[in-house]
Structures are given as structure tokens and as C-alpha cells.
Symmetry: C2
Amino acid sequence: MGILVIGSVALDSVQTPFGKKDDVLGGSATFFSLAASFFSKVDIVATVGEDFPKRYVTMFKNKGIGTAGLTVSKGETFRWKGRYDYDLNTAHTISTHLNVFKDFDPQVPKNLRAPDFLFLANIDPDLQYRVLQQVKRPRLVACDSMNYWIDTKRKSLERLLDKIDILLLNDAEARQLSGESNLIRAAQLVISFGPKAVIIKRGEHGVLYFSKNTHFVAPAYLLETICDPTGAGDTFAGGMMGYLSRSKAVNDENIRKSIIYGSIMASFTVEDFSVNRLLEISKKDIQGRFKHFRSITKY
Amino acid sequence: MGILVIGSVALDSVQTPFGKKDDVLGGSATFFSLAASFFSKVDIVATVGEDFPKRYVTMFKNKGIGTAGLTVSKGETFRWKGRYDYDLNTAHTISTHLNVFKDFDPQVPKNLRAPDFLFLANIDPDLQYRVLQQVKRPRLVACDSMNYWIDTKRKSLERLLDKIDILLLNDAEARQLSGESNLIRAAQLVISFGPKAVIIKRGEHGVLYFSKNTHFVAPAYLLETICDPTGAGDTFAGGMMGYLSRSKAVNDENIRKSIIYGSIMASFTVEDFSVNRLLEISKKDIQGRFKHFRSITKY
């Protein structure tokens, strides 16, 4: 029954060499669900503050995204403020105000407790675990994490990893989690913690996928315009899981294609600030870029 | 009539996190010609000193590499000493002793002045130009350069670029030469200087190929063992031009395949110091890796 995502819905203030935006729609669950909505039914579990603009909730609904699990809590919406320099691969956080997210105890609404796919976006691994306990074991569980949790909550993260199917990380995080600099060996060590597969996101250098017996190397889609990388990773996950949830089987062939679709969705996101590009594009644009991707990688 | 390469034959002293080697065989023409020799007849134009071990000349001959243009000059062989840290993408030069290479005035032997393909490895663009003037226009001329020549001999480099077919650079050099940080736009600006195509080498992140109307994105072959990156770029060029020179036509399809073969040859070189791996492998190993490359990039 569709995809469930637990993550953040936030207001971002972002400065890049190409402009500056204040209090625009952001958050992992936002980017994920918008990307996934092109392929599949998706429901959000998250919380926002009383200041969260209602037009964004309307927008989610118009996109067919389920908001029954998007609660409004007393206080202000989670806010992230960041800056990117010409090296757009690195986000420099200026401030993080968790606000209503600080005491967030995610509750999956009763009628959403049997999702087909579950995405645990990057939050405290204890919260991710608690969400996993609330649902009937989905057909596929993917999970994102970050250096902060590897540092401060390794035990909790390892407990979680034993219960999931796919872990998404960037290369530095894969190295940190495994203690191994070579990415092939790092990935196999991560897999030994429990997940069936690990996806290593390398920004403009593409994506590596590892399972126990195979790997897949996907370059990123080359762009002339990269405006704001915020949300690229969660958009990737949304495109990937969206495509995969529509496939007949979760097998190597479909996972590879889903990774290309994830990369394509991310390539749209970074072309403008916030979710602007995701609101502009159509399924036809996605198919067009998939076709082009094939043409520039074929040999 | 085969491939002609003008470049260096050197003795390298290299230290990496995986070991240390002194006065081992190196140089751009060395790596290039050994890689190309798996596919095609190749002749070297270079000079070495009186101290150059004769066993290396014998080795070239045994590999079918033409050494009629490899002269012995009074003095010592060109020596490079360098170090790589855990970030194997960056070579730290400790010393460069040009020795006999300082006054090298390359003379192409008469019977080698009609090569089918010509590779101008990274040396002074004035010397590269002088070699180009000595030969009947080959079917394909490729050329390597570096930040130092872009800085100090831009005019000479631009004169050369107008006469060649393919320029090979790394991404920082492409940005420096074009003054443009986006690689798609950088490549098109470089092409406006004259070459029909530009190949941007990104080390462990693969290769980008740009012509006026198309581009091709190739990931690098993932390795568990990377011992010493010295010579990877020239090995790439040798594998690429070797394969291409054996193809029926220089067209987009064959250029793409040649780039994969170049990447595969480079993947062998970096697995050990100096040319050790290139001396160990067989055509069967190359084919095996090509097949594996296909299997990990297919979708």
C-alpha cells in the first residue's frame, strides 16, 4: 500500500553562489515525497509548527501526497539555515532550529501501518527504530543517516541497521561507519551490520550500489545549471523508491533502473531553489531525461 | 601505420601509503606505449640518459614497441620523485630533475613520419607543436597538457590546440583553461579553441568526453587495491588510442568503447607500482575486465 516516509518538513534559508532564499519549503520528507509522488502513492509522517504555511499542505494534497501523518505542533516549524560556496558538494550549516522537531515522537496513523515501502529519512536512529516497530514489516525498508548519528548514537544505529534493507550514505559516512577508506570494502563492512544493500551517494560523481554479491556504478546526470543542492539526497531516495515500488519485483535489474530514476529526480531538484523544479516538471520531462541519460552512458 | 607517442621515459621514485619504490620505470611515453601495445603497433620518441637500464629497452622491444626514436643522450635520465597520501588523487611532487630532457629537441625518425595516430604527451606545447610539424598529418592527434603550461605558455598551447583532434585534461585544468567552473560549459569553451573533442579525466570518478554535439559519461572501474596512481592518465590515453586505432572508424561509438578500454588499462596500472601490472596482464585479463565493467554499469 504505497510508500511511507518519516522525516522532516522544514523551512530552509539557503544561500548559494546563485542566489538567496529565506524560509522556503524544505525538509527530507518534503523532497522525498514530492519525488516519489511522480511514481507512487506516498504518505508523510512528520510535524510542523503553527507558523507552517497552509498553502504547502494544500500543495502536498494536490500532488496526491497523504498528509494524515503530518501533524501541527505548538511552536515553530523546524528551520535550517545554510550556505554553499562554489564547491556545491558541501553544505555549510549556519543554524539549525529544531523547534517542534525537538520533542517529535512520530506516531504512524493506524491506517498507514502497513506500507509497502518505508523510508526512514535522516533523523535520530532511535526514532527511526520506533517507527519501524509501529508498522507491519514492509516489503522494503530504506534508511538514511549521517555523520552526527554515527558519532553519537552508533549502538542505536547498529540496532536499526540489522532491521533494514537498504542504507543510504555519502562516501565520507560510509568510510566513517566502516572505518575503512576503500569504498568496496567499506560497503561490504556496512552490509555485515545487517542491511542487504548500501547506496553510496557521491553528489556530482554519481552513485554506487552494493549488495553482498554485486555492485552497480552510476554516474550523475551532468548539468549546466546547479543552483542549490539542498534536498538532492532525499529527492534521489524518493525517485528511487518511487520507481522501485512500481516495479513488479525488487531485483537487481529494477534496483539499477530505480537508481537512475533517483539520480534524474535529484538532477531536477538542484536546478533551482527549494522544490521549485519538482513543482514544474512533468512525467514527460522525467522520461526525456531518462532517455538522455541512457544516450550519454551507453557504450 | 600505428601510433607514435612523444613524451618522457623516466625513472620515478614514488612513495604511497602502500609502499616506496626508488628509480623505477616511469614517464608518460612509457605508460602510454605499454598500454597501447596490447592493441596496436606503437613507436616512442623520447630520450634517456646513459644511466638508463638497458633491460627496460629490451622490455620495450619484447613488447613490440618501436624504440628507433628513443635516443640516449649524454647525462642522466629524467627523474621524478613524488608522494601520494591517502587521497590518492593528488600527487605531491618532491623533486623533478629534467636532466637529459631539459634540452630535448625531439626528432621523429624519417620512417616514422607518417603515423596513423599521434599522441603528444604532456611536455612543453612548443615541443609538441614542433613534433606535429615533422609528421604527415595523422588520422588522429591527441594531446595532453597540464596547469603549468596553461599558466606559462597559454599562447603556445592555443596555437597547438587549433591543430589537434582530442585534448586530454583533468577537471581542474579544464576549468583553468576555460575560466569556467561548470564542466559542460568549460568543455565547450575548450573545443572553441580548436580540438574536435575534449576528454576530462577525473581519476576515481571516471571520465567525461565532450564533442561539439554530444557527451559521454564513463565511471571509473572500482578497485579494492589502489597502490600507486602514477601513470594512470597516460595509461588511459594509451589504452584509448590503442583500441581506437584498431577500430574501423573514429566515430562516437568507437570513441566511447575506447574510453572504457582506456579506463580499464588505467585500472590495472594503479594496482601496483610503476609498470608492474602492465607487464603481468594478458589480453584475456583486459577482456575479462571489460566484460565486468559492462556488468557493473548496465541498467
